[in-house]
Amino acid sequence: MTDISVLEIDRLTVSLGSGRAARPILDEVTVRVDTGEVVGLVGESGSGKSVTCRAALGLLPRGARVNGSVRVAGTEVVGLRGSGLRALRSRQVAMIYQDPRACVNPVRRIGDFLTEGLRTGLGMSAAQAQERIIELLELVGIRDPRAAMRQFPHEFSGGMLQRMVIAAALAPEPALLLADEPTTALDVTTQAEVIAVLTALRASRGTGMLFVTHDLELASAICDRIYVMYAGRVVEHAPVRRLFTRPRHPYTAALLMSTPTLASTNARLVAIEGRPVGLAEAPPGCSFAGRCVHVRDGCRDTVPPLRPVLERVSTGDALEAATQSAACLFEGELGDLLAPRSVVVPDAVSGCVG
């Protein structure tokens, strides 16, 4: 890893509306992605993963009030407009979406979609753009790319379309790739294929990636580090192995316990009680208090800050420990209570994509 960050989100706070009607969405979210790194963003529905992700594109909901900073490859995105924003979007950062069918214009040829970014953003000629796209289509496994470019989106399966969206995203060779649940809409076999294509292509170009997912198993397989979000806040951040073997936030621990392939083989699967909440509905103090099995006096009084986890047990991976942080007031006391007894962590990348 180099120490160059392609994405630095620093204490990003977002709310919609103003005055009494203000609806907070994100609270002091801090996320970093370095060159060539894959960083996961996990959490239940409504925790703010997509909003965080889109912030990197300068795509916040209309009328959002924003505090904090979002820097992509050194450029501040908050407040960026016009040609500066267009240049950032067409060269530095690209996004892959959940539903490829919804994100490609259905009435234009797929070739128009694929080359549009290169032509309008990088000023390439039609022929140049086509040449680059054809190369990429071959890499993502499209047979006869030339013919494919003349076809319409509805003539392709979701998996094929997602491969083309990936090709389009990587075409301008962006520094940062955002992937917002890129396989949720696909069936299981296709998922694995698309992930394989995505990770291989990204790795060969050294593009940093922020990978949003519900799927902890998938995250464990492809990510270097993971941020766990709950109700608009980051509640835990750790290198992937560390997170799965020694979670330091009760929410992370609960997520692991509720994931079939990750929970220890001899432990019962335990679903997290209660419904996930957004930041607007979260109780005062620790937003997880309503569902936390370790909740105690004081939890509802102050919002727990995200603090570095102090290593108490010497396990040999002290270096990793230094990069773990959690936002639980009682993290120090709970300690190993949270650690699953035995967890099966698939090997990085290869574990899932085979």
């Binding site: 979007r89 060269r91 214009n105 309008t120 319409f152 392709f156 389009a168």
Partner: protein, 325 residues
């Protein structure tokens, strides 16, 4: 990867148009019967309408015999249909001429008027796009004015135009069609505007709704997120994708102009098909009324056919005649 052919197969297109032309013939047959029946059910004697209240019984009988007015209804219908199949629309009672030669000189002027009004109607697309992409004052202004425009019957517009531009300002001629292209354009301007005003309003509203709908779609947001310039997003993604409903409504409105010409041509003293229809109904000139009614039906059916073909051209998901998904 599904490898189907081009969106609009030539074979499919030929088959489709063939089928639709066959159904056009059936539609015409049914319509001709309805038109013929309806016209015959209206009270009044064409011979009396033509010869006036003091006509002698002998003169009336002569007309009746000449135009087969005393034959049973079905016999008259069969006689007329037989003529149609030979391209013979019968003889006009009021002009004592073949219907075809009555219609011929009027088709051009009405065609020009309709084309002029249709071109003006397309302004509605511009207004609709402007309203959709400029929320606030521009949008509100366009919505309010198009609502008013939509509610304005063409005869009201005609009266207003004549009062203002014809009489008060004296900028435009009020009656007739003029000679030469410039004079023709000047003469047809007020009638065309009168025809188009409410249609511009309708088309603007349809366009605005369609473009707004598309602007809210994910693919539009994705295009913006890729740094595609805003104007291009509006043109190539939002407007482009909203074309289906815009063309459908636009086409139907343009076909409808033909009907409205009867009011406007009468108001501006233009001797076109619309004015002819009004005259012929008043005179109970059945052959002419029937021919005009059939012509209107043909225009509508052909326009529908064109709309369907164009809809399949602008949206590859639309198979001819069938809408997929």
């Amino acid at each position: 990867m599904a490898a189907s052919g081009p969106a609009l197969g030539t074979r499919a297109a030929v088959l489709f148009v063939g089928r639709r032309l066959a159904s056009l013939v059936l539609t015409l047959l049914a319509t001709s019967f309805l038109v013929f029946g309806a016209v015959h059910l209206t009270p009044g004697d064409p011979a009396r309408a033509m010869l006036g209240p003091h006509a002698t019984p002998a003169a009336i009988a002569a007309i009746h015999a000449q135009y087969h007015l005393d034959d049973p209804f079905l016999v008259q219908y069969a006689h007329w249909l037989g003529g149609l199949s030979r391209g013979d629309f019968g003889r006009s009672i009021q002009f004592r001429q073949d219907v075809t030669s009555v219609l011929a000189p009027r088709i051009a002027v009405t065609g020009e008027l309709v084309a002029y009004a249709a071109a003006l109607t397309m302004l509605g697309v511009l207004l609709g796009v402007a309203a959709a992409v400029r929320p606030g004052v521009v949008d509100t202004g366009i919505v309010v004015s198009t609502t008013v425009a939509t509610a304005m019957p063409s005869f009201v517009v005609a009266i207003l135009l004549v009062a203002i531009f014809g009489v008060k300002l004296g900028w435009l001629p009020v009656v007739g069609v003029g000679d030469g292209p410039v004079s023709r354009l000047a003469h047809l301007t007020m009638p065309a505007v009168a025809l188009a005003v409410s249609l511009v309003g309708l088309l603007a509203r349809v366009t605005r709704a369609g473009v707004l709908d598309q602007l809210g779609r994910e693919h539009v947001e994705v295009a913006r997120a890729r740094g595609v310039p805003w104007l291009r997003v509006v043109r190539r993604h939002a407007l482009r994708n909203a074309l289906g409903p815009i063309l459908t409504v636009g086409g139907t409105l343009v076909a409808g102009i033909l009907v409205t010409t009867s009011i406007v041509e009468t108001a501006f003293g233009i001797h076109g098909l619309g004015e002819l229809l009004v005259k012929s109904v008043a005179q109970k000139d059945l052959p002419v009324v029937q021919a005009l009614a059939l012509l209107t039906v043909v225009v509508f059916v052909v326009m529908n056919l064109v709309i369907d073909v164009v809809a399949a051209l602008v949206d590859p998901r639309v198979a001819l005649g069938v809408r997929v998904a």
